[in-house]
Every structure is written in C-alpha cells, then in structure tokens.
Symmetry: C2
Subunit: 724 residues, 2 copies
C-alpha cells in the first residue's frame, strides 16, 4: 500500500530549477509555495543565483543539508533523468515533475518517459523503497488542508470539501478560476499529467484512506467529500471500479471523460451487431462503480457545486417555487425529462399555501408566487414546503421583475436552508441584477444556476448517486460478492474439452475458430447446439438426415468465412433429398472457387424450429476486461439497436436485470396477444456462456448469433470465436 502522506504533507521541499526570473515556472512555483503558507523547510536549487525570494539556494541535490520529503522538478526534460537519480540517491521518496517534453511530445519524448519509468521501477523494490512520482507534464497539486500550493497556476486557497483529480493542468486552471468566481472551496487538487507512476487509482486509494470529512465541513455544506475527476484515460479498469465502488458507497464521485460522442458515433455506425464502442463499456463500468458521468464541462462544474454544497435529496420528489409562470412550466418539462417527479401536494400543504399566498397564485406544483412576490411571500411558500416530508428537494426560480427583492430573497433562502437542511437549488435568471443575489446565495452555499434546466439536471444527478448509495449500503453489494465467488468456484467443473480445442488451434497461426469448433466449445459448457456433423460427401449428409430427419441446414465450415449468410455460405430450409443434393453441389462449388485446400468440409445441421432470435456475445475490453453483450438477433438486431452490456461476471440477478432492460424483452415476455417464452433458459445459457469466457482467457471475442429461444428449448445456432 502506498503512503502518500509525505507527498501531500511534506515537512521539507526541494525545488530543482528554482528561478529568480519571476515569469519562469521555477519562480512561480516557489512563490506559490511560500504564499500558500507552507512553514516547513524549502530548498531552492539553481546553478547560478545564490538567493531566490530571500531563500538560500543550492547547486546540487546531494549538497542539501537534510533529506527533503518532496522534490519538485522544473527543468527541461532532457535533464530530468539525471536529477531524478540524484534525488533518489539522496533518499527523497516523493517527486513532482512539472517538465513537459515526454510521451506527449513524440517518439523521442516517449523514449525518455520509458527510461523515466525504468528508473522509478528499478528503485522501487518494495513498499519501503517505493518512489512516488507525480507527472511528468503535470501542474502539480494543491492541498488547502495543509496548506500547500505546489503548482504554477493562479493561487487559490479557499478551503472546502471538494477533492479533484485531473489529468489536465489546463482544466485545473479553469476550475481554479471558476472556483474563485463562485466562491467554492476545495481541499485537494491533484493533477496527474502523463501518469508514468502515480495514476488515478493511487490517488483514489489515498483519498479513500484519508478521511477528511471532519476537517472540511462548514455550515451549509453538503456533509460529503465529493471527488471530481477529469480523466482522458483509465489505467486499470478493474482496480478503478473496485476503489471507486468503495468511495461511492460514502461520497459522490463524478467524472468528465472525453471520447463520449465520437466513440458513440463510431459505435452507431458499426453494423456488425457486435459489441459497441468502448465508450458504452465505460458507461456500464461507471454505473457499476456508482460514478456519475458528466455530459460536458458545464455538468462538471454544476455537479461540483451541488455535491459540495447541498445535501442529497431523499428521493425524486421535487417542488418548484417561481415568481413567473413561463420558467416554471419549462422546468416541469425538464423534471419529466430527467426522470424526477413533481410532488402532488396533499390537502394540508395546499391549504397552508392557500392561506399565505394571494388568490391568483398557483398552489399546485410548480407554485407560482406571482410576479410581484416580495421576499416575504417566497418565504411563506418555502416554509410550507420545506417541512412537507413528501418534498425531497426545492427548486426556487426567480426572475428579476420590477418589485423583486433579489438580495433579500437570497438572504432569506440562505437562512431557511441553514435552519432546515433540506436540499435547495436556485435558479436566479438573468445577468447583471441577479448576480447580486447569486453572491448572497454563494455565501450561504446555495447553488444557483442562471437556467432552471441546469438546476433540474443537477438535482437529477444528485438523486442518481443517492440511489446508488442507498442500494449499495443495503444488501446488493454483499449479494454480488457472494454470487461472484460462487461463480468462480463452479467454473472449473465444466469445459474441460475446450482447453484442448483452443490449445490445438493456438499451435497454428489461426485466430478464428470455425463454427464446428465453436460449437464443440459451447457444448462443453452445456450450451445446446443443434445436432451437426461435418460431411466429406453427400453420403455423410444423407446418413445425418436419416438420424435427424429434415429440415436441415448446410453451411460452409470455414474460419475464412465469418459472415457466411452474406456470402451465400448457408442454405437453410432443406426439406427433401432433391434440395439436399442441389444445395450440397452449390456449396461444393463455392468451396472449390475459394481455392483453399484446408476447407474440406461442409457442415450439416438440424434446422431449429422457428422461435425468437437473440444474440449473445462477448469482447475483451482493454481497460475493463470481458464485456457481455445481449440483445435482439436476426433482422431485428439492426433495426432496434438493442445492445445491452455488462461486465463479466454478472451474477444471476444482474443477468435477469440485463434481460429485463433490453428492448427485445417485450417479445420474450410476449405482448399484444402473442405468447412469450421461458426466460429461465436464457438466463441459464448466459451464465454458461460467461463461464466459458471466464475459463478461457484466450477467447478475445465470441458471439452466438442467432440464439433461438422457442418452446422446445434454447439453441446456439451459430457460434463464432476469435482467439487473442
């Protein structure tokens, strides 16, 4: 386990590349350290200057009078490796490398970064010797709890309950500027840069182990320690999910990650019916880990504010109070769109509102306190709703009309929020005038958004995390863990034949299994495939028919032909001898035309009676491992875009949920008079399929398309597999 305490709470700091030129990075960092109030020892290193900012300088790292807890490197990339070796020799264990010019700067930089990585690994033989390096190409970090600002960015020092991890330094500078404007405080802001050594998982682990909730809660804040992340890549998906899960059970994690739309686009354009783009997988993984995904930068900022300042609503019931009908109606739209609910007030609440509001006011939800509402009228409406247990959160909309008391209303809302602690989000709509109200709201830690749709969206995402937290803190997590271990124990009992088939193929340079081989593996895991046989001649085919009867299907069994149907390699519906002869001849000719002597067989298969066509597949994701895909098969697959993903292994409950959430589930259950199918068989097949994937790490991709579910059972009609 890493110990990063002396990284983020160092007693002494050395700065290699300290500079007397106040425009240089090495000067700005030094000034930031001093200005942030750090009162440990500081050792600036510079080859020529004898003193910088009133501090004595050193020429060489080995000359330092003591071993600094933390070394900062702010010199050109080509000198970094030598200096790092010296730092390590001296005994410093924590290093921040600001320098750019590594893997982000082309092949030379990449080579340099590989050497950097080697130096770190070579010297980190165990927990005791472990060298911790942040960067290179990073902005450093801010720890407002210490306090210490080790960045070359605009100083920020407002303490608060937010924590940030950002792969990009530029995003950090925007967050700092945003935080200043919005008077939002944070505790730690750690930038990762190129992640040669320390990555998001290390920092998350550090955050998880260092509970700062008691240090950061001020009056009016959420009582949580939310973590905002901006990541361009995820190093180890499984570890990321594990540590995130532990954190999300107590505190919200929200993530901004590029690649969303372009990936989705790619996914939508792919017509293979196979696993969708990686970004869909990320969504599944985030859901599992309870991480709230941001749709954009605005979302990221909005969530930072609400998670920092407001308590999580107990549920989805929202009440809206507005001094204008239009924005209230618009907001109701967004409430529906975001899956929240407008509370239906009970008689008591309605009577209470009626007593305090003018006759023309609307006492239904949204409550319209009318355009001439002063702070007092807003107050009586809020006081009525804030004690109503059916109301889980309040949205207060204010338009700056001629009578409107902008600041007084804000002040009153702030007071009531402190007093009752129920989540309140505001939307003061406008610009110059309402800005004064926003300032007041900021003081009381009430998030206000200029557009009510932003407020509604933020509440919805708070509820999304709230639901995750509730679920994980009841019993679903333990259930999952149990079933998972259950799953892994059973997996060894089956599929012993599969290893043989796979290893025999691995000795060749083939990667695609032919459908005959794929079916053998499926059968080894107890998945039914229709009776089948390879036929060297028409006589083999005829004896197969004698055993299995018509109708049958003839297929070319070749790993070269992955899309058999499209290439005329499948002939179905053969129900008499004449057709059988004719079809066999036709396939024979195709094979001869392919000129590949290795294809020496035609496969005959019992045709499965009609039923519902489904698809089940899996694909190894580089970050998150094996991903399961389930959906409608056949012609439907391409029409209804029914791709439902899960990370393998899913337990039985998760498999059932996956099926229930699919579009094709309507047909499985049967509707509008059509009869349905037994979904137990399907659940069973998916569990077996998962075991097969898990037990055979050499399988890179697999799919069964179609799986036919009918009254007789469930059949894997056509399997495909690709090895790594």
């Amino acid at each position: 386990m890493l110990n990063l305490d002396s990284m983020f709470y160092p007693k002494s700091i050395a700065l290699v590349g300290a500079s007397p030129d106040e425009k240089k990075l090495g000067s700005i960092v030094l000034k930031n350290i001093i200005d942030s109030g750090f009162n440990g020892e500081i050792f600036p290193l510079n080859l020529t200057a004898t003193s910088i900012l009133g501090l004595d300088t050193y020429k060489d790292y080995e000359d330092l009078p003591s071993i600094p807890d933390l070394a900062l490197i702010a010199i050109p990339a080509e000198f970094v490796l030598d200096v790092l070796e010296k730092i390590i020799q001296k005994g410093t264990k924590n290093v921040v490398i600001f320098s750019a010019g590594f893997k982000e700067a082309g092949s030379e930089g990449l080579a340099l970064e590989q050497k950097l990585s080697e130096i770190i690994k070579k010297n980190s033989t165990d927990d005791a010797t472990k060298i911790n390096v942040l960067g290179p190409n990073c902005l450093g970090f801010v720890n407002n709890l210490f306090p210490l600002n080790v960045t070359f960015s605009q100083p920020v020092n407002k303490k608060g309950n937010l924590r940030f991890i950002s792969q990009s330094g530029a995003i950090a500078s925007s967050v700092f500027d945003w935080a200043e404007y919005n008077e939002v405080g944070f505790s730690e802001f750690i930038t990762l840069g190129n992640k040669t050594d320390l990555n998001e998982n290390n920092i998350l682990q550090y955050f998880y182990e260092n509970d700062i909730s008691s240090l950061t809660q001020e009056e009016g804040s959420s009582g949580l320690v939310p973590i905002g992340m901006y990541l361009e890549s995820i190093i180890d998906g499984k570890e990321f999910i594990n540590i995130s899960k532990k954190i999300s059970a107590k505190n919200p994690l929200f993530l901004l990650k590029p690649g969303k739309s372009s990936e989705s686009k790619k996914a939508m354009q792919s017509h293979t019916g196979s696993i969708a783009g990686e970004d869909y997988v990320l969504d599944v993984a985030l859901k599992k880990a309870g991480i709230i995904r941001c749709d954009g930068i605005e979302d990221f900022f909005d969530l930072a504010k609400v998670f920092a300042w407001e308590k999580i609503p107990k549920g989805k019931n929202i009440a809206i109070i507005s001094n204008a009908g239009g924005p209230a109606v618009l907001s109701s739209d967004f409430v529906a769109e975001e899956g929240l609910q407008l509370v239906r007030f009970d008689d008591e609440t309605r009577n209470e509102l009626e007593t305090h509001l003018p006759r023309a006011a609307s006492i239904l939800n949204p409550v319209d306190v009318l355009g001439d509402a002063l702070a007092e009228r807003y107050e009586s409406a809020i006081k009525t709703l804030i004690v109503d247990d059916d109301v889980h959160s309040l949205l207060i909309i204010l338009t700056p009309q001629v009578m409107t008391q902008i600041e007084k209303t804000a002040e009153m809302i702030g007071r009531l929020s402190f007093e009752y602690g129920k989540p309140i989000i505001c939307s003061f709509m406008g610009g110059s005038h309402i800005a004064k109200g926003e300032k007041v709201l900021n003081k009381f830690k009430i998030p206000s958004f200029r557009y009510p749709e932003r407020a509604v969206k933020a509440i919805a995402k708070m509820c999304q995390w709230g639901e995750y937290r509730n679920a994980i803190n009841t019993n679903s997590e333990t259930q999952t863990l149990e079933s998972e271990s259950d799953f892994f124990e059973q997996k060894q009992n089956q599929g012993s034949d599969s290893a043989e088939i796979i290893s025999s193929i691995l000795t060749t340079d083939r990667k695609n299994l032919d459908s005959f081989e794929a079916n053998q593996i499926l059968e080894a895991y107890g998945i039914n495939t229709p009776s089948t046989k390879k036929c060297e001649s028409i006589d083999n085919a005829k004896s197969f028919v004698q055993e299995n009867n018509f109708p049958v299907v003839l297929k070319i069994s070749s790993p070269q032909m992955l899309h058999k149907s499209d290439e005329g390699g499948v002939i179905a519906g053969i129900d008499n001898n004449e057709k059988l002869d004719e079809s066999f001849d036709r396939l024979k000719k195709i094979i001869d035309g392919m000129g590949d002597s290795s294809i020496n067989a035609i496969q005959i298969q019992k045709q499965v009676t009609k039923g519902l066509e489904l698809i089940i597949g899996s694909k190894k994701d580089l970050v998150f491992g094996n991903v399961l895909m389930f959906g409608a098969g056949g012609v439907l697959a391409n029409l209804i875009e029914d791709r439902n993903l899960g990370l393998i292994p899913l337990n039985k409950v998760e498999v059932i949920t996956l099926i229930k959430n699919s579009k094709v589930n309507k047909l499985i259950e049967g509707y509008r008079g059509e009869k349905g199918f037994e979904s137990e068989k399907l659940v069973d097949l998916i569990l077996k399929f998962q075991k097969m994937i898990n037990s055979n790490p050499e399988i890179s991709e697999a799919d069964i398309n179609p799986v036919i579910l009918n009254d007789d059972g469930i059949w894997a009609v056509d399997g495909k597999m690709i090895l790594i």
Copy 2:
C-alpha cells in the same frame, strides 16, 4: 392587413392609471416612457392627482385635448372594460392592457376576457376601424428604434438587431437583465400576455413588413435581424407556418416553447401505435417553417447572442484552436455529436501552422497552441485558418493559465473578426479572470461561452438555419407550392362515394366507422383492400370462398370493437371448410354475448399473403390541422418506435423523404441479403390516403394497420376511422 405603426411609433400616449406612488405600476410605466426619450405628447390619467412627474393629469379619457395614438391601461381588471369603451369612443386605435386578472385568474377572469374580446370585435368592423389591443396581462413593449419603453420593467435601451416576441413578461425581465450583463442590444421586445387580440402571427407579420436591417447593423454584428420567440401556445398553426416561412427565408427565427418533454413522455407512454403527442407535431411544423427550436432557456440566450453577432457559417466545417488539450478533445466530441465536422487541413494550411507554432503544438484540428501561448501565437494560428476556405467557422478555446494574456487575446480576436468577417465563437473557460476577456469580446460582438459545448451547439444551430435558408432560396419552395396546388386540383376527382357514407353516419350519433365502411371509403380513393363481404350466414361465407379461395380471415365488423385482435374478434389463417365452420360459430357466440342487436354481421376477407407490415394514419391537430403518420406496423411498431410525421398535404418528394427517414425503410429497401419491396406503391398509397383525408374534413382520425406491402401489391388490410 393590420397597421401597427402607430402602436409601436405613437406620436402621443395616454396612460390610464398613472400614479404618483413611485412603487406603483402606473408610475413606473410613466417614468420609463419619459426616460426612454419619447418626445411626443404624454397624457397621464388619474382621478385625484393633478400632476405626476411634472406632467398635467386628466380625469377622464374624453377630456383629452387630442386623440392619442396609443392608450395604456394600468388599472384593476374590473375597470378595464369601461375604460376601453371610452378609449375607443375617443378614436384611439392602439391599446396596451397591463392589467392582470383575466383568463389566467379563473372563471370570473375568463368571463371578463370574453367580454373584452367582444368589445374589440364589435368595434373592429373593417381595416379602418380595427382596434389593436396588446395583452391583457402583458408587460407592454420596448421599441429601441424609436426609442420608447412602454413596460414596467427595468429600463433597457441598448439598440441592436434582435427582435423578441414573448408571451411571458417574466421571461422578458430575465432577457433584459441578461442583455445588460452581456451587452447585447435589441430593437423591439413585444410581450403578448393573454393574446385576446394581437398574437404572435400579427407581430410576425408586422416584423416581416417592417424591414429594419438597415437601421440596426453595427460593425461586428451578424447582418441579420433575428427574431427570438417565447410562446406557450400557438394560435393558428397554418398562418404561423406561412408567415414564419417567409421570415426564415431571410432572417433566423428561434423559438422557446414549453411542453416539449412532458408531451414527449406522454407520447412515449402511449401504446396505441397512433399519432404521437402534439409536441412531435410542433417539431414537424417548425422544421417546415425553418424555425430553430431551443432546448431550454440557455439555448434561447445562446442563440440570441450568436444570431445577433456572428455571420452564419457557410457550412459545417469547424476549426478549433485551444491552449489546452483536454477541452479541445472534449469539443471534438461535441462537434461529432452536433453533426458538425472538424476540417481536415490541407498541406498548405498545415505547413503554415507548422511555420508559426512551436514543435510541440498540434497542427491538426483541433490546433493546440500549448499552455504558454501568448496572444501572438493565437493570432498566427487564427490568421492561418481564417483565410482557409475549407474552414467555415472558428472556435477559440482559452483556459486561464499562468502565462495567458486574457484581455490581449480577446482584443486581437476582436480585431481579426472585424477584419475578416468569418464566424468566430469563443469559449473562455473559467470565472473571475476570464470575465475580463469576455467584456472585451462583447465589445467586438464575439459570442463567448464558458463551456465549449455551448459554443459548438450554437454553431450547429446556426448551420441548421443556414441550410434551411439555402434550401428555401434555391428551388424547393416553388416545387412544394406547385405540387400542393396540383394536389388540391386532383382531389375532387375521386372518392365521391365517401361523402355519402360519411353523411349517412353523421345522421346517427356514431363516431367510429366499422371496418367495412372504412374499407369502402379507402376503395373510393383507389386504395386496395382485400376482397371482403359481410356474411349473414355461413352460406354467405362459403360462397365468398368459392369466388376468392382460401385462406380467408373472419372478423367481427363492429364499430364497438376498435381493437378486434386483442378481443378475439379476428380469426386468420382459415384454409379449409372445417375451420371456416368452427370459426364462424365462435364469432357468432362472441356477438351474441355482446348483446347488441345492431351487430348482425361477420365480415369475411381474403387473407393477404405475407409481406411487410406498415401503418399509415392521420389525426387532426388542433393547431396545425391534419397530420400524417407513417411507420412500421404489426409487432415491430411497438418495438422500434417508428413514428414519422408530416403535415398534410405532403408532396411526392416529401412523402418519399418521409419513407426514407423511417426506421422501417431498411426493410423496405431490403438488407443483409433479404430482398426489398417496391416503394412506389407505398408512395402512391400515401398520396391517395392524403387525398381522402383532405377531401373529407369530417374524418378526425384514420389509420390503416396493417398496410401489407408484398410482391403482389399493397393492401390496406384493416382501416379504422373516427369522425369529428
């Protein structure tokens, strides 16, 4: 044609309800008129005060020394009608009623408003006597071109090229506050209130006739006169489309209208397979009229700014310049999501960028000028791209890093924008620091958004309008008009039988046509229905089979049974005499059980061979008239949500496009080896169906479900109609 010139450019104004109390509406309005610089005559009316704000007052409207062009009413609702009569008697033709307490305030108010409407109508017998009333329950209007502020809102007087129409006064006050903060000017802002008399169509017509483009264009503005609308209802959909079309051909119209999501929700929940919620219809109508719809208030504000300030991009090619990689990558995502394209720079442009930028910079799109970019480096990148004809718009992203010259960069962007005139949108990301840059950008009329996703979205919507304008200004409009008249001429030649059937039903109190009747009407318009006959007895059925052969379908022909299949009222696949006997008996029993003597017939129908099941329907929309719906039928209908709407009449090209854009089109065209169908037959059937709907205004709803398209032809298997 209305003449609203003396409403919006009055030479004299009377204010009924002028008040000496400066907190009262009647005082604020008066002060606003004076402060706005109005230099015509003003007549304040008040029962007790002799002078208000230095102006002599009058007690009675008839005492006024001359006939005011415009009368303003700011007194309680119950006194409004009397005063209005006096105003009309005096000869004033233009009235603004601020007073609330009309239809928005319950049944008494509604009655009052109806009387108000009667007074207006009674006195408006022709164009010459027409009384124009704005409101009641409105905020009045601002005309910065005059200048004149006839509202009780915060004064605003920055002149600009934007025009606004708002049903809500509160939205107006938010727009005013937003405009002040963002330094955005506008020409007219007209609030509609309850729209007893003047509505959006009147104001749009007025805007259309009053070309103000030469009066409002300043250096740096878009050269357009954009119109922003906030509407909660649309009075006359067809007129709205007509006038909007004329405007959109020259200037952008953008609309914010509530009801979007809640309506969509309702629509999604409806499982009738029938026409979707009204909001979908609105989308179709807006598309036809070239109106850009806003997804929320933020969108509304964003579009106001870009349409006012930036020229419309020539196409979808966007180039991004950023001093930070993260936001640039995120923006690329949004570019894809919004359907824009990142330009691929040619060699010349890449070389030019390479010459001016540091080696570590990215010269691909997005261009990364690196975190230490000063204004100069931004400038050389912009100068290179702004002259590249492949670049249609530029997005400049700036994060406030330590070296960043925020204001200087903004100033430089402004200068280049003036010089080259190519659309530039900025995203300066952050809060306090970047605000200074925004101020500079505002001066140069460069829109800047704190989140790049907003900028990308705004550019996409500019392009959306640009495409509409280009299309309408080439030839598509004339084509449409020709085909429409064509359409109406032909419609009389067919369907003479239908009038008879319908009128005979209208004499009863039935509204639902039975399928026998519906089929007769369909046939009258040349739509094929399978041979059918009503059978009093099993003998009738048998003689039908002798003529038409098996297989046949038996149905209960009853207007009481709209969902025959669900109620066991349809038996298909009858292919022998035994089944025929049995089925006939079964239906007979159901009919007997229904105990309705009027049901005396079972319908026998030739069963249509298998084919593609489609649905075609229509429904009268209260605002936009008859709406056509086309999509997948049968089981697919409910799985793939394939509802494609158009406003009747669609010309042939529009019908083809409707089909092409449907999801089921994949199956019509045939794919993955399956063969397709002849879509001409489908187009023809839809045109005939439209004629039927258009010629029979008594039909409120109609649908054919399924329409079966197969190799033999196209068949309306089951028609339903509901009369008004």
